[in-house]
């Protein structure tokens, strides 16, 4: 039996538009179950605990990366529970990596129930599944949801993006990898990835290799920041501006404390220590995926 935890705020309340069609589809596939909706902060975690107590073996996060993160932090450690995903959020990096594109495709994938175990990372007492970000990606995560909103919200998104691109200053960061070597860089963005796939041919992420992939983007021109922020497109950034490192642990220090986004949500600030978790996550995946 399936337990669906819906975050109605995800993706500019996308679920409101598709809810009836979604339930109809699930019914047709024979995987209808209990639907619950979060109503405020910490609600997703609470609802997940309730689902586990009721004995559900498949818990489906209906939302984006942030919603998935809250669900997995409650399910982890319970070997009997499998995570499912219906992507309706602003950022759906994990769903994309798992080959789950769109809510309709997600229902078919849930029904076929192919389960894989993937790596998790650990930071600030939490597990994460896609990435930890510092710099532009972290500061931008707070306004990204506006891009999927109404006309006024989209206009606000454009204005804030322009303003952020004009005012953003590179961050002086020091990164220590596995205690073996240190890197210093004036960074536009630092992304520590477990399963976030980058649209760059020389960055290969593997969610089952037991390693974290750290991408450091150094200072780039304002117009490239705009493109990066608006289209999530890093393909115009040339190779000399990009560094890539692989390790099991990373410690990141910055001159002044900077916000740290974990799976798209601001959770803590620097300095921060990130490492591979000793636990894995069971998740339903598509047959065609990025790994």
């Amino acid at each position: 039996m399936y337990y669906y935890i819906v975050n109605p705020a995800a993706g500019g309340s996308k679920i409101n538009k598709i809810q009836d069609k979604l339930k109809s589809r699930l019914r047709a596939l024979g995987i209808m179950g209990e639907f619950v909706k979060s109503t405020g902060p910490d609600d997703v975690a609470k609802l997940t605990r309730m689902g586990i107590e009721k004995g559900y073996k498949t818990i489906v996060a209906v939302g984006g990366d942030g919603t998935i993160n809250e669900v997995l932090n409650e399910t982890i450690g319970n070997d009997k529970v499998v995570l499912g995903i219906i992507p309706t959020g602003t950022t759906n990096d994990l769903a994309d990596a798992l080959g789950i594109r769109g809510w309709y495709a997600a229902t078919g994938i849930l029904a076929s129930r192919k389960v894989e175990e993937i790596d998790l990372g650990r930071v600030a007492g939490r597990y994460f599944i896609t990435s930890v970000a510092i710099g532009f990606d972290a500061e931008f995560s707070g306004i990204k949801r506006l891009a999927n909103g109404n006309i006024l919200e989209r206009a606000m998104f454009g204005t804030k993006l322009l303003s952020k691109s004009a005012s953003f200053r590179p961050i002086k960061a020091k990164l220590k990898f596995d205690g073996n070597y240190e890197v210093e860089a004036d960074s536009f963005s630092i992304i520590v990835s477990n399963s976030k796939f980058f649209p760059l041919p020389f960055v290969k992420t593997a969610p089952k290799d037991n390693l974290l992939d750290t991408v450091v983007i150094t200072k780039i021109p304002g117009y490239k920041m705009l493109r990066y922020g608006y289209l999530s497109d890093a393909s115009s950034i040339e190779l000399p501006k990009i560094s890539v490192f692989h390790s099991e642990t990373i410690e990141i220090e910055t001159k002044k404390p900077k916000e740290v986004a974990v799976d798209g949500q601001i959770v803590t600030e620097t300095p921060v220590k990130i490492k591979m978790a000793d636990k894995k996550l069971k998740v339903i995946v598509a047959r065609k995926r990025k790994f």
Partner: protein, 139 residues
């Protein structure tokens, strides 16, 4: 031919470590994959894969790898299992050893060079050359 050789040594992709331009790395970098350096590396570098030192890169470290292509500056010893290439803009100040060595015109290299021969059989005795001489019959 040299350019083609360099491309063959390090192909982008795979689990590659990249030290971008304006990035400084200090310490012992160990890898199983290829390493591309466009910035500054100080310390020690060891990999089972290949290393490429870009034209504006500065490496102050001993380097040990399967293949190495140098277009920038390396101050340290370079120990290569297979192929070492120093391009026309490359500078190596240190001892090198490789199975195959290619140094382009314009490259700078200061140090000792070792190119291991095939292993010899130490127990074999040298065979003296025997010259056949015709001796005239004396009466």
């Amino acid at each position: 031919m040299f350019e083609k050789g360099r491309d063959e040594i390090v192909k982008p992709g795979g689990s590659e470590t990249i030290v971008g331009a304006s990035v400084k790395l200090k310490g012992n970098l160990r890898s199983d994959g290829d390493i591309l350096i466009e910035g500054v590396v100080t310390g020690d570098l060891k990999t089972k894969g290949s290393v490429r030192v870009g034209e504006n890169a500065n490496v102050i470290a001993n380097v040990k790898a399967e293949n190495v292509a140098v277009s920038g500056s390396v101050q340290g010893n370079v120990e290569v299992k297979d192929r070492l290439e120093i391009s026309s803009t490359g500078r190596v100040l240190g001892d090198i050893s490789a199975n195959v060595l290619s140094i382009a015109p314009g490259a700078v290299f200061t140090g000792k060079c070792m190119m291991p021969e095939s292993p010899r059989d130490e127990s074999a005795q040298p065979t003296p050359e025997i010259e056949e001489v015709e001796v005239a019959n004396e009466k």
